[in-house]
């Protein structure tokens, strides 16, 4: 594959500054939560090698902050692009659903995000809510019946495993899809890339100009 560095005018903005900041804040928080969550879950294997109390506090506070970046970015006047992309995640054509279930083998003109990317975004949106709520029950358990606490423990752990798998997959996809990843670092993609990987969005953006 040859990388063509198009002139500035020929690039399309995929992620604005707000979106990139939110993405990398989320990435950092998820990273901290995974790295502190592992010794908390497998505590008995780690023995006394780590300061459990401090790790617990870090896990708790990063967890509490987890929903903030997305909420703040969505609710302000700076969130126009966030909100528009949220709408893209919510609405799917039947062709996109088929694309997801055939893992991309059934071609279609794709939106700004392919169905896999959309599913990834929806997954993280949902697990932020799930992990926050179940984490809250685990921390302030006194206000909840014991069967809920048991269910919250189970759910928190189950989704932690799921998150770990999806995060590994997400990073693997990013590392093997250079221009997608680079748009999350620099914001824009080349028009060629957009026409090849996000035809619908490319056409839409062209006609808007």
């Amino acid at each position: 594959m040859t990388l063509t560095f198009a002139e500035p005018g020929l690039r399309l903005l995929r992620f604005d500054g707000v979106q990139r900041v939110v993405h990398w804040l989320n990435a950092a928080l998820f990273g901290v939560l995974i790295f502190t969550g592992i010794p908390l879950y497998f505590g008995s294997f780690f023995g006394v090698l780590f300061p459990r109390h401090e790790i617990q506090e870090i896990h708790l506070w990063s967890g509490l902050f987890l929903p903030l970046p997305i909420l703040v970015s969505l609710l302000g006047p700076w969130g126009r692009r966030m909100r528009r992309d949220m709408h893209r995640f919510a609405y799917w054509s039947r062709a996109e659903v088929r694309w997801l279930f055939t893992l991309g083998r059934e071609q279609t003109n794709l939106d700004k995000f392919n169905p896999g990317q959309k599913a990834n975004a929806l997954f993280f949106g949902a697990v932020i809510i799930i992990m926050w709520a179940t984490g809250y029950i685990l921390q302030w358990f006194r206000f909840f019946p014991v069967s809920w606490r048991e269910g919250a423990t189970l759910t928190h752990d189950f989704f932690a495993f799921a998150i770990f798998v999806v995060v590994v997959g997400h990073i693997a996809m990013a590392l093997t899809h250079f221009e997608s990843m680079s748009s999350m670092l620099k914001g824009s993609v080349s028009r060629e890339w957009a026409q090849r990987h996000a035809r619908e969005w490319a056409d839409e953006s062209e006609s808007a100009h």
Binding site: V127, T134, V146
Partner: protein, 240 residues
């Protein structure tokens, strides 16, 4: 919300599939909270607790410490004092404890924060036996427990302390009790939440007033009965 809306579903028409996926996932999480405990029990009963322990969250001890580290007491240095308002105060070594008539039991361990481990096998000395050896004086009402971590403390009413399954344990799953589980010797109160089962037990004191233990000072009930189990209960509402 200006996406093309079509009266006739066509290939290009967009429906809120993504929103449904998102809400479905959140609903799955909510169902997990509401019914997860039952589902786990069902799986445990059908497939055995060995399988349940392989599932995330299932049958798995979380290790809590108050101080952030585990006391390290070699069994040769271990001693347990039984004192307070008793006729025969005594100090027992680890070997003294092991020489006493032992009780073995298999019990579930339920933490107040929500996790549960079924079928834990314990071996130790019934607390009632130690109390009988020491001989509590008349007028005493409760037993206080101290820990080698110098932070935790617990107490039981005398009547609670005499329940046959309240144990001073030195073996778990057939092996000497490990440090993280409260070894070499801990208290086990299977009918109450885990915080009553004090780890790294150093002293047993018979007293005439209920001491408020570490977790009780932090808001946990003095009578930590599991849901559904009952027994002698301290009527003092300030302690519940």
């Amino acid at each position: 919300m200006t996406d093309e809306v079509s009266t006739r579903p066509t290939e290009g028409a967009k429906t809120p599939v993504g929103r449904r996926m998102f809400l479905g996932l959140v609903a799955l999480g909510a169902a997990g909270v509401a019914f997860g405990a039952e589902a786990q029990k069902l799986i445990g009963n059908k497939l055995g607790s060995g399988f349940a322990s392989l599932l995330p969250g299932g049958n798995h001890f979380r290790i809590y410490t108050i101080t952030g580290s585990y006391p390290n007491i070699p069994t040769s240095k271990y001693s347990l004092s039984v004192s307070g308002m008793v006729d025969r105060p005594m100090t027992l070594s680890y070997d003294d404890l092991r020489a006493l008539p032992a009780l073995e039991m298999v019990k579930g361990f339920q933490c107040v924060t929500g996790w549960r481990v079924d079928g834990v096998s314990w071996k130790g000395v019934p607390l009632a036996h130690l109390l009988e050896m020491a001989g509590p004086q008349s007028g005493t009402v409760a037993v206080s427990f101290d820990s080698y971590d110098h932070a935790d403390s617990e107490s039981l009413l005398l009547a609670q302390a005499h329940l046959p399954d309240v144990m001073v344990a030195y073996e778990m799953y057939g092996k000497p009790l490990s440090r993280e589980h409260g070894g070499p010797v801990r208290l086990v109160v299977p009918q109450m939440y885990g915080y009553k089962s004090l780890k790294w037990l150093s002293a047993i004191r018979v007293v005439n007033d209920v001491d408020v233990g570490f977790w009780e000072q932090n808001g946990y009930p003095q009578n930590g009965w599991l849901d559904g189990s009952t027994g002698p209960t301290n009527p003092d509402p300030s302690l519940s």
